[in-house]
């Protein structure tokens, strides 16, 4: 930053005659052109893949669009209809439970495992990879399928319970009371990516703080409370923000575990799953687009709240 501003100051001082000024301007324009040229691949991607569809979906949210016929402008009707949609409420409820229960639990597990791994054990790289693996697989169709079979009435979970003499016949995925819990469990299991970030953060905390604390007779818990947590708080915050954003968009697990229905009894009707049902199942892409924008607002609100409260608990070393 400063180097560039210095340069421009030098230019400004030097350019005295009008001729010189023109020359400068031409040079600057050429520099800009080169800059834009380098930016071009990214810019094309942004416009075609992100911005274009984004604007299109905003437009569609004000239309009645059946996919088959051209969209018709209906103003705010889609948004008005959302106010009177019991399944939308249900999907919000499911998604909020998933986010509010699943994300903190996942982060606690991630932090706990990261601290274990940070104890300087042998074969760290191996364990790190093993623990990271579920993150790579968790959102995949295959794992969701396995999950479904594990929690069926004759599934692995019940078979293990029976080994211990518990006559378990509950179908965890088929009962509205338990179905969402199995998907939250799947979410917690994919703790790998926040764990890796935590691990990196833990590595940054200078060991001398702990040494000094031990000399002063601080317990492990006190060390964790007074050293680890404050110094790690930016990382915790980072993971929290990202995981909340991710969790709001959970789709694959719910889709596969419930066969795309959000069942039983809409107990796993995630917001994005409902959006998908509206758009592709019921040919109401306009309504689905409006739902997508509501989700943007919700995620933005959550993120803003997160940032607002962060000043009370996040400690930046600088």
């Amino acid at each position: 930053m400063s180097a560039i501003s210095e340069l421009s100051t030098v230019h400004r001082v030097k350019a005295k005659t009008p001729e010189e000024k023109r020359l400068r301007a031409r040079e600057a324009a050429r520099d800009n052109k080169a800059g834009y040229l380098f930016l071009l691949p990214w810019l094309i991607g942004l416009v075609l893949i992100v911005a274009g569809p984004l604007i299109a979906s905003l437009y569609l949210s004000f239309t009645n669009y059946s996919l088959i016929q051209a969209p018709q402008w209906i103003g705010l009707e889609n948004y008005a209809r959302m106010l009177d949609d019991p399944r939308l409420l249900q999907s919000l409820k499911v998604t909020f439970i998933y986010v509010i229960v699943g994300v903190p639990l996942q982060l606690v597990v991630a932090l706990a495992i990261a601290m274990l791994l940070n104890e300087g054990m042998k074969g760290l790289a191996f364990y790190r990879s093993i623990f990271y693996l579920p993150s790579m697989l968790g959102a995949s169709v295959a794992i969701a399928l396995i999950w479904r079979q594990m929690f069926e009435s004759d599934g692995l979970v019940n078979q293990v319970l029976r080994l211990f003499g518990i006559p378990a016949t509950t179908s965890w995925i088929a009962d509205p009371k338990y179905a969402l819990s199995t998907i939250i469990l799947l979410h917690i299991w994919t703790f790998g990516s926040p764990m890796v970030i935590f691990l990196a953060g833990l590595r940054q905390i200078p060991g001398m703080y702990y040494e000094a604390a031990s000399v002063d007779g601080a317990s492990h818990w006190a060390q964790f409370r007074r050293i680890t947590l404050p110094l790690l708080s930016p990382i915790i915050f980072f993971n929290l923000v990202l995981q909340i954003i991710n969790a709001f968009q959970a789709f694959t697990q719910a889709f596969v575990v419930s066969n795309g229905t959000g069942g039983p009894s809409d107990s796993t009707l995630f917001y994005t799953l409902y959006l998908y049902q509206r758009g592709f199942g019921q040919f109401q892409m306009g309504y689905a687009a409006a739902m997508a924008w509501l989700l943007v607002v919700i995620i933005a609100a959550f993120t803003a709240i997160n940032f607002f409260f962060s000043k009370y608990w996040v400690f930046y070393g600088d």
Partner: protein, 442 residues
């Protein structure tokens, strides 16, 4: 710390933006869906895209049919687009939205109005589709607003499949399906389930719309009228009450078992359905699936009629269902060539020699006669059944109006609510009708 506030904001902001925007972008229209679709003409040859859903047998058959058709029509080349049922409709919707609909489309009764009413399908009669030899009651299912937009590709009927081995184990006879009532079905199912020690006496009975349709028709109602739902909340409540009666009698398993088994077509693949795994004595199914069920279970299952209120099969208001239909895109560049395929499939021996009864019994009366001796034993049984039930047929139900294709899914959801005690049958029935109606209005 390595991470200061500014770096954090930049990083998190960027990632957050990326995460949210990708979600939104996925909902945009008109994304080009690859190179398929769209007919074109090259050097006097017409290229058409042909889409179907199916199973390995049907895929093999259809490829062979395409070869045979191309030999008979050297000017037409067909490019096949096979798929499976669930993904098929998403793909077709996006292709249609992008103006790249396949020229020839295998269509289902649940979706034909969705496309037909919105002008996405060709009027086949006008283009020369020939259904003159079709059995009565097999043409009209493809008519939307007076236009023939789908030609029946095979006749089906909603049936109850029985596993004789399980009845044997219970030391019971397979019941007489010409005289049984719904209540008798419940009694038989409860008895066989407890005596043979299987979870389900009868499975899928309440989860699908055909059996609900049969029940409604016997009560003088229909699933749908031209533009509306054809029944009242009270009718739906009666159906839900019947389900609870079955459940309390022990005929259809526990709520958890019912929920886990899912709805027909919406849950497990057919080769893992309860009757195949020996967990059910009776199972609702479409008649053309008998062979697949036999193959998967290694049994020879029996076809039974749906029960009636009066205890007389002739009063059960049966109907021929189109297991699937052939439609053509309204935007196809060569309507004649698309209809040529449809006519070839519906009316030639070459086609039926390959397809046999895999897509259902051929609706063409002459071909029905022609192919019967060549069918496998299971298919022969189906063909005989289709002919036998002719005296029991009533009017052909109309296709669900646009937005009505999800009736079964909605019904099963409210049934699950009732089964788990989350709603009374009256509440669930009211909500069920309201939701189906609200989908139709859009």
């Amino acid at each position: 710390m390595a991470l200061n506030r500014r770096q954090f904001l930049i990083g998190a902001g960027g990632l957050a933006a990326a995460a949210t925007t990708t979600g939104l972008g996925a909902c945009a229209p008109g994304a080009p869906s690859g190179s398929q679709g769209g007919g074109g003409e090259q050097g006097g040859k017409t290229n058409l895209a042909l889409a179907w859903w199916g199973n390995p047998t049907r895929n093999k058959n259809t490829e062979a049919e395409i070869q045979a058709f191309q030999q008979a029509n050297p000017n037409i080349t067909l490019a096949g687009q096979p798929g499976d049922f669930a993904g098929y409709w998403d793909k077709l919707a996006t292709q249609t939205a992008g103006g790249q609909a396949p020229d020839i489309i295998q269509m289902d009764m649940a979706y034909i109005a969705e496309y037909g009413n919105r002008g996405a399908l060709l009027d086949l009669e006008k283009t020369g589709a020939d259904t003159s030899k079709f059995v009565e009651g097999t043409v009209d299912s493809g008519r939307i607003n007076g236009q023939l937009v789908g030609v029946n590709a095979g006749i089906n009927s909603a049936v109850i499949v029985a596993n004789p081995k399980i009845f044997e184990k219970a030391k019971m006879d397979v019941p007489d399906d010409k005289t049984w009532t719904w209540d008798q079905l419940s009694d038989v199912a409860a008895e066989v389930a407890s005596k043979a020690g299987v979870p389900f006496g009868v499975v899928y009975l309440f989860g699908g719309d055909p059996m609900f349709g049969a029940y409604l028709r016997q009560n003088g109602k229909e699933l749908f009228t031209e533009k509306d739902v054809g029944f009242e909340p009270a009718d739906a409540q009666a159906w839900f009450d019947l389900m609870m009666k079955f459940q309390k009698a022990g005929s259809i398993g526990t709520p958890q078992q019912i929920s886990e088994e899912g709805s027909p077509g919406g849950g497990k693949p057919i080769d893992q359905s309860a009757i195949v795994l020996g967990k059910a004595a009776l199972q609702y199914q479409n008649s053309n699936q008998l062979e697949a069920l036999n193959a998967a279970s290694g049994e020879s299952l029996k076809l039974l009629r749906a029960p009636s209120l009066a205890g007389k099969a002739t009063e059960r208001k049966a109907w021929y269902k189109a297991s699937m239909l052939w439609s053509a895109s309204a935007k196809t560049k060569n309507p004649e060539a698309a209809v040529a395929w449809i006519n070839w499939f519906a009316n030639t021996k070459e086609a039926v020699d390959i397809d046999k009864a895999e897509r259902g019994i051929p609706p063409n009366a002459e071909l029905q006669e022609y192919i019967r001796p060549k069918l496998s034993p299971a298919q022969q049984e189906v063909a005989k059944f289709i002919v036998d039930i002719k005296p029991e047929l009533a009017s052909t139900p109309i296709a669900p109006p646009p937005g009505g294709g999800k009736l079964a899914e909605i019904m099963f959801r409210y049934e699950t609510d009732v089964l788990f005690g989350k709603a009374s049958t009256a509440e669930a029935a009211q909500k069920f009708v309201d939701e189906v109606k609200s989908n139709l209005q859009v």
